[in-house]
Amino acid sequence: MKKGKITITITIGLVILILTAVIFLQFKTINQTDITALENMREDELRTEISNFKQKIAEISGQLDETNAKISEYQEAIASNEQASDLLVQELDQQNNIIGKNAVKGSGVVITLTDTRAQKITAEDLRELVNELKIDGAEAISINGQRIVYDSYIVDIGNTFIRINGVESIVSPYVVKAIGDPTYLESGLSKKQYGYIDSKLEEGKDVTLTRQDNIVIEKYNGDLNMEYAN
């Protein structure tokens, strides 16, 4: 009688152990099925991702060539015991063009947004436009002369003004300049129906775009140092 009880207990124990093990195994399998994983991507997603990576590889290869060229130029300067001043100025300029410490020029697009009696342009309209211009490859952007830098922000001040970078209070018309590939920028903004311009026109807002060859974007006048990040 007692022996039988022990056997049953052991059997049940074993069964529970095995079942638990099986459950864990399955949990593991489910955990591995990550929805953003490569395995689950649809054909069109895969194709988009492939073309993304091809572009990224081209960009990074270009950057690598550039870095290698700079290294050998500095090496030459050291070897011939000459000053590297020109090289330094060139590198610094390139950085400051991107950061916004230099004024920059180039071809691109100019978008003008004007308040109408029915519809006012809001900070959100401008934020959306800046994001769209970045998607379309803008290398420098300004709004009414205020350069957009890495920590820029655009907010409504009541119903009257829009403030950019915390200093400038601006009013309509808002003139947004962007330097980059004019074709890319124009076609990105002018996509039918869902594009930026069409959707704003649909809302009753006044938006126009022109391509320009010689756009000048002023430098940022604020302070660009980080106070808290080390």
Partner: protein, 227 residues
């Protein structure tokens, strides 16, 4: 009994999952292999670039010791790397977590879209954080730099070209109290999102690490404009 039911439920779930995956697996094997190999190439090139950048920094420093002007420029170049987001940074700040409310049954809600996190939400929060003095921001470890765009691509959000899904973690380095108040004050944006059904969580932290931007800047179209 309970265990058996649990196992059956799980077997069913797995079968469903593999069914869905299985179909695409067969069709897209070639594409997947191509993508994998491209990702591998990119990783290799990026590692190489990191190595070369370090080499450039060393040799630039060596080359720039001939005049005060050179030394000053060399130091500015190095400092600029930080402004470009090309260095990891750390400091005090806030961490915001956003998650979709999975308890909501999409078939019973009129507008499920209110319960999701959108690109506009992220743009708004980033704008608000910079407005309250943030020095550096990342979203799911993607550093926000001057060329960063937040794109809605179907139901996928892309930041710096990388796919970002829920749960979303936004980290910001700056004055913690000021950033927290800007977002979580009554009637603030996080409260609006929470009222809309998104799970929102914000906390201050003394030690936040934000990774560098792992991409490159292009200056194909801009040149210096004031000379």
């Amino acid at each position: 009994m309970l265990l058996t039911v649990a196992i059956c439920v799980q077997v069913k779930t797995i079968n469903k999952a593999t069914e869905k995956v299985g179909a695409t697996l067969d069709d897209n094997n070639g594409l997947r292999d191509e993508l994998l190999s491209l990702q591998g190439t990119y990783e290799t090139l990026y590692k190489e670039l990191e190595k070369k950048d370090a080499e450039l920094e060393t040799i630039r420093e060596q080359a720039a010791n001939k005049s005060d002007e050179d030394v000053k420029n060399e130091q500015e170049i190095t400092n600029n790397q930080k402004l470009l987001g090309l260095t990891d940074v750390s400091g005090a700040g806030v961490i915001i977590n956003l998650d979709e409310n999975r308890e909501i049954d999409s078939s019973e809600v009129l507008n499920i879209s209110e319960y999701l996190v959108h690109e506009e939400d992220l743009l708004y929060i980033v704008n608000e954080l910079f407005n309250s003095g943030a020095d550096a921001i990342s979203i799911n470890d993607q550093r926000i730099v001057s060329t960063t765009s937040i794109v809605c691509d179907g139901n996928i959000i892309r930041i710096n070209g990388k796919m970002v899904g829920v749960p979303i973690t936004i980290k910001a380095i700056g004055f913690p109290e000021r950033m927290e108040y800007a977002l979580s004050r009554p009637g603030g944006y996080l409260q609006l999102m929470a009222d809309g059904g998104v799970k929102v969580y914000i906390e201050r932290s003394d030690n936040i690490d934000i990774p560098k931007y792992e991409g490159v800047y292009s200056s194909e179209y801009i040149s210096r404009g004031d000379e």
